[in-house]
């Protein structure tokens, strides 16, 4: 559009100003506050036994949730893109549910299923106020990502090559590993990156089911809240900065492997 220069500049200033006030300046303040007492203090703060245990719990939970949801995501995307069956629209809608449900409600749902008096109250291991609850909550909230990234890629590549492979005698496994998977690998990778970021950053659902037992069921995000509530502001900032660095890494990975840019 031919916009006169003053207009263009003032629109640009308005847009960038809004982003600065809402995003950039607050992030910079957090990093400034984190490091105002020196790098050493931050390092000490993120290497306390509590912080280390929170870090490993977050990693463990993510390492369980993401692979499971990746396998499910690829299977489900194949069914959605290639299958013809009744109830496809319903399946599609159910996959989006975790995006639309409040994280607190997810946690509540798990308590109502696995907690005292719940439908599955007789499980041989404790779920609520324990690590399995955190794992279930994290799996729930990260269900849609891989499906949503892989389905459009599968639709776009079509199935001619797979059919050609089949006529040449390839088994379904061979066709999947040699043809389907290589053609969707960037979509899968993108979905995994989004899932990892979401799993590491999940707070609400985990907060409800964790019971917040220090050194046992505290994840990194819960550590931020716990430190904040214990008036350890510097410690909360340090843990936040660690999470923010992970988020920035995610952004970098996202711009690198954006599948929509891959075919351009």
């Amino acid at each position: 559009m031919t916009v006169s220069r003053p207009w263009r500049v003032s629109l640009r200033v308005a847009a960038l100003g809004y982003l600065a006030l809402l995003l950039l300046i607050p992030i910079c303040v957090v990093f400034y506050r984190t490091f105002e007492h020196g790098v050493g203090a931050v390092f000490d703060s993120v290497t306390t036994p509590q912080a280390v245990s929170a870090f490993w719990l977050t990693i463990t939970v993510t390492a369980i949730a993401v692979p499971l949801n990746t396998i499910f995501g690829v299977l489900c995307a194949l069914a959605l893109a290639r299958g013809r069956f009744r109830g496809k629209a319903i399946l599609n809608a159910i996959i989006d549910l975790p995006f639309a449900i409040s994280p607190v409600v997810v946690g509540l749902a798990l308590i109502l299923v696995c907690g005292a008096g719940g439908w599955l109250d007789g499980l041989p291991f404790q779920v609520i106020f324990s690590v399995p609850g955190i794992v279930f909550a994290t799996i729930f909230i990260s269900v849609p990502f891989v499906v949503r990234e892989v389905t459009p890629v599968l639709m776009e590549v079509g199935d001619e090559q797979e059919q050609a492979a089949a006529t040449l005698g390839a088994s379904r496994w061979q066709a999947f590993w040699r043809i389907t998977l290589p053609s969707i690998r960037w979509g899968v990778a993108y979905g995994i990156v989004l899932s990892v970021a979401r799993c590491i950053g999940e707070f609400g659902a985990v907060s409800v089911v964790s019971g917040k037992i220090s050194g046992e069921t505290i994840t990194l995000t819960l550590l931020v809240e716990q430190r904040f509530q214990n008036f350890d502001l510097a410690g909360a900032y340090a843990a936040s900065a660690l999470l923010a660095v992970i988020a920035l890494g995610t952004l970098l990975a996202m711009t690198r492997i954006n599948p929509r840019r891959d075919d351009a």
Binding site: M1, T2, A79, R172, G204
Partner: protein
């Protein structure tokens, strides 16, 4: 004859359905069913208590306001990112996704660092309705931008040039040509943002101060009810939240169909 390779058999679809049923549907069904554990009266009392009504009302109002503001500023930012050229545009474009990548608890702490009691600029909005609004503006920022951007890129410039050659002013071109083409994308982005806003928890929990009848939102209200060992009451309010989400999800699908028709 062997079935074509790569096609999901009944097995893939079966695993997907089982996974979704166990992870997503069973817990959500538990919320709906168990919300009436104490009878319909208890359900109604929980939903219609003054505090619950006030929390739900504030949640819907502040979500609508944040959606409105971000629909406007998101369209502006998308326009600047697509049609304007300036240094550092790619970095700004990558930064837009930061609210998706940053854990919500960190987002809350970040806003608190700049606009809270320890603010370096002397603005203290902590524990006010404004703080809740800002948290929602932060976490829902990317939705409208990411939904409008691709449409704006695809938009045919010839139409605009024709309008200008016929003597239309810049505002007229925007109002008569650009905006009508963007409306479906703005609406679907706004609907996603609204759905996210009404369930938001992590970014609000530190900022709102959870003052009943003032800054208490529905998700925090549910959380407090779980903490005070009233999961059934929490479930009743959760069902109302889920109903609102459901209406929005259905609305988005209808919008999508409408947008698709609009394209042709």
């Amino acid at each position: 004859m062997r079935r074509p390779a790569g096609r999901p058999g009944a097995l893939g679809l079966g695993i997907s359905t089982l996974w979704l049923s166990l992870i997503v549907l069973l817990p959500l069904a538990a919320v709906v069913v168990r919300s009436t554990d104490g009878g319909l009266d208890t359900f109604w009392n929980a939903v219609s208590s003054r505090q619950a009504v006030s929390a739900l009302r504030f949640t819907v109002e502040v979500s609508l306001l944040s959606t409105l503001i971000n629909a406007f500023s998101g369209t502006l930012i998308a326009w600047v990112l697509v049609r304007d050229e300036f240094r550092g545009k790619r970095i700004v474009n990558a930064l837009i996704d930061l609210p998706f990548a940053l854990p919500t608890i960190v987002a809350g702490l970040t806003l608190l660092a700049l606009y809270g009691p320890t603010s370096p600029v002397g603005i203290n909005a902590a524990f006010t309705q404004t703080a809740v609004l800002m948290a929602l503006l932060f976490v829902t920022l990317p939705f409208v931008i990411r939904s409008v951007q691709p449409v704006l890129i695809e938009l045919d410039k010839e139409m605009e040039e024709a309008a200008v050659s016929l003597g239309a002013s810049s505002p007229a071109v925007f109002r008569r040509i650009i905006l009508p083409n963007l409306v479906p994308a703005i609406l679907s982005g706004a609907a996603l943002a609204f759905a996210r806003a009404i369930g938001e928890f992590g970014s609000i929990v530190l900022l709102s101060g959870n003052i009943p009848f003032q800054t208490q939102v529905a998700s925090v209200f549910i959380f407090k009810n779980i903490e005070s060992d009233n999961p059934i009451g929490a479930a009743a309010v959760a069902v109302v939240l889920m109903l609102i989400s459901l209406v929005i999800l259905v609305g988005i699908r209808a919008l999508g169909r409408w947008g698709a028709r609009h394209d042709r």
